[in-house]
């Protein structure tokens, strides 16, 4: 069997097997594998024509099947794609540009004007122009022959505690490793019809994009607005016969929690993978009762280890106060639980979840300092270089030997499927004119972010500033003005005092 070294081999193959089958679609457009292949190769040829090679290419397009084609096109061109989105606040995009210093940005008709409002001097290419380029077979062959499997294919940006987002760089090898093992766990086939929920600017969408190419499956991009209206969402799933979803937990609890499963059933759905947060058992049981034959799979993993690292296929009932395990690592991945002394935690004891294997990404783009903090020498191996990734998550093994997620080590929280550092919100808000001091706390029961501030500005001004500067999911649910910030004895903001203040309000 020939060993796969390049993620594009999935597409090269499937475009021959199922040229006319639909690969990626939304409610208004359907792209066949042949179209995806042709357009992606045109984009690759265009980039070659412009002299772009082995460099980051920003993809600034709306959530659309063409955006996926563009990702693939950038890889055909021997470059790596960096997805950004209009949903991101300006400030974050500016920080990404500062870190990346890109020479090229690809836009669609919704972003062509917008990009000119940024302090960006590089080239701007329009998708519609790029796909008209004649495919340069010789150039694409040459690019491919020089490619190796540790070359990067994307950079996706995640939240950073200092407020500067971190660009996680992933290569062919870790993505192939992930797609092969994920596909086994999810039992993907040519009959799989995915309903994509996650944004295209995070690594979560790898779950749909690449298995679709590997098997000749199909992916529908679900309009974001439907995640407000549960019955319309179920109608969409049924209309397009969607049978497999990999969603964040809040998207699933939206449907069950609002009572939509009482009279409406997603009748084709047989595989439900979920992650990003703990699934409340009460909600989970509603799903399981509605779809008793379906496979439910809990996924866990950080972006830094390419998509997901652990899985658990639900095989038993859970009590309301139990947590669904994150189970076991994917094949070819090892999880180490390390205690405070960097020794393996005793069975049943808590430890930091650390990841070892091909699935590790290459690190953070243009940021050796923070890369070296998180990607470190395996402390259990003093003999030769071997990296592990320290997730900062605390886990333990249960009596059955299954891995359980316990909590975050620091102030990072998970909210609505997004990873948020409360420190990033504080960093942004501290920059506001008139603000003296801010502190964020998280109400874990109600899943609300609360911002306390001291300063000479009104609540409305603060809320408006939040909305301009922060991604939507980071905007605090409640903003409270206080006269003085409570401090601890060593002068740090006393978060516990704020939590008490919040509880007693």
């Amino acid at each position: 069997m020939k060993r796969q070294n390049n993620i594009l081999e999935y597409l090269d193959n499937i475009a021959n097997v199922y040229p006319d089958k639909i690969a990626y679609a939304n409610e208004s457009i359907e792209l066949s594998f042949k179209t995806v292949y042709d357009n992606a190769r045109a984009i690759g040829s265009f980039l070659h024509e412009k002299g772009r090679y082995k460099e980051p290419v920003v993809v600034f397009m709306k959530k659309h099947p063409n955006t996926i084609v563009t990702f693939l096109g950038v890889v055909y061109g021997g470059c790596y794609y960096v997805p950004i989105d209009v949903e991101m606040p300006r400030h974050r995009i500016e920080l990404i540009f500062q870190n990346l210093k890109p020479g090229a940005v690809i836009c669609d008709d919704t972003t062509l004007d917008l990009i000119n409002t940024f302090d960006y001097q590089g080239d701007v290419y329009a998708y519609d122009e790029m796909v008209k380029e004649t495919v340069n077979q010789a150039a694409l062959d040459n690019i491919r022959s020089k490619a190796i499997d540790t070359d990067p294919i994307y950079v996706v940006f995640t939240s950073g505690s200092t407020g500067r987002p971190k660009g996680v760089v992933a290569c062919h090898r870790s993505v192939i490793d992930y797609i092969e093992t994920l596909s086994d766990v999810l039992e993907i086939s040519e009959d799989t019809v995915f309903g994509n929920q996650t944004p295209l600017y995070v690594d979560a969408c790898l779950k749909e994009i690449f298995p679709t190419l590997k098997f000749g499956a199909k992916t529908y991009i679900i309009p974001k607005e439907l995640f407000m209206f549960p019955i319309k969402l179920i109608e969409f799933l049924n209309k397009y016969k969607i049978n497999t979803v990999c969603w964040v937990v809040p998207a699933l609890t939206l449907i069950s929690g609002l009572g939509a499963l009482k009279d409406n059933v997603p009748e084709y759905l047989h595989t439900i993978a979920f992650g990003s947060e703990v699934f409340p058992i009460k909600q989970f049981n509603i799903w399981r009762k509605t779809l008793p034959e379906a496979r439910f799979i809990n996924l866990y993993g950080p972006t830094e280890a390419t998509g997901m690292s652990c899985y658990y296929v639900v095989d038993r009932e859970f009590d309301l106060d139990e947590a669904i395990p994150i189970g076991r690592p994917f094949n070819n991945t090892e999880i180490l639980l390390l205690n405070d002394q960097d020794k393996p935690a005793e069975p049943g004891d808590q430890g930091e979840i650390c990841i070892r294997g091909t699935s590790l990404t290459l690190g953070y783009y243009n940021d050796f300092e923070r890369t070296n903090e998180a990607f470190v020498q395996n402390p259990l191996n003093p003999y030769y270089p071997e990296l592990i990734y320290r997730t900062g998550d605390i886990g333990k093994l249960n009596d059955r030997g299954e891995l359980i997620f316990v909590s975050r080590k620091d102030y990072q929280i998970k909210h609505m499927g997004h990873r948020i550092e409360l420190g990033e919100i504080e960093m942004v808000m501290n920059q506001m004119e008139g603000i003296q001091s801010v502190c964020c706390i998280f109400d874990n029961d109600k899943k609300k972010i609360i911002l306390y501030y001291v300063g000479d500005v009104s609540k409305i001004e603060v809320v408006n500033y939040c909305k301009n500067k922060l991604p939507r999911y980071m905007v605090p649910h409640l903003v409270e003005k206080i006269d003085t910030m409570p401090l601890t004895s060593n002068g740090k903001i006393n978060r516990l005092a704020l939590k008490e203040m919040y509880a007693n309000r």
Binding site: E225, M228, I231, L254, G259, N464, H477, L478
Partner: protein, 76 residues
């Protein structure tokens, strides 16, 4: 109606809920807001909004939303 306006203003102090009639169409409310609203309305008015009423028409204005709450209260 006062109580509903307070709930809405806590979510979006920058919006005039007396005049705005296109809260969904203009993408002012998003899925976070809808979930929060449904929970807060449940707390304040003791009504559960059933899934089939969670549609854009009922959330496009404070007036429409209040109409829904009154309708649900009448049905009890």
């Amino acid at each position: 109606m006062e109580e509903l306006l307070e709930i809405l203003e806590e979510l979006h102090p920058e919006v005039d809920f007396n005049t705005n009639k296109s809260l969904i169409d203009d993408k002012i409310l998003d899925s976070f807001d809808i979930i929060t609203l449904i929970a807060d309305i449940n707390d304040a008015y003791d009504v559960a909004i059933p899934a089939h009423e969670i549609i854009p028409e009922n959330f496009n204005s404070a007036e429409a939303l209040y109409g829904l709450i009154e309708r649900l209260l009448d049905e009890d």
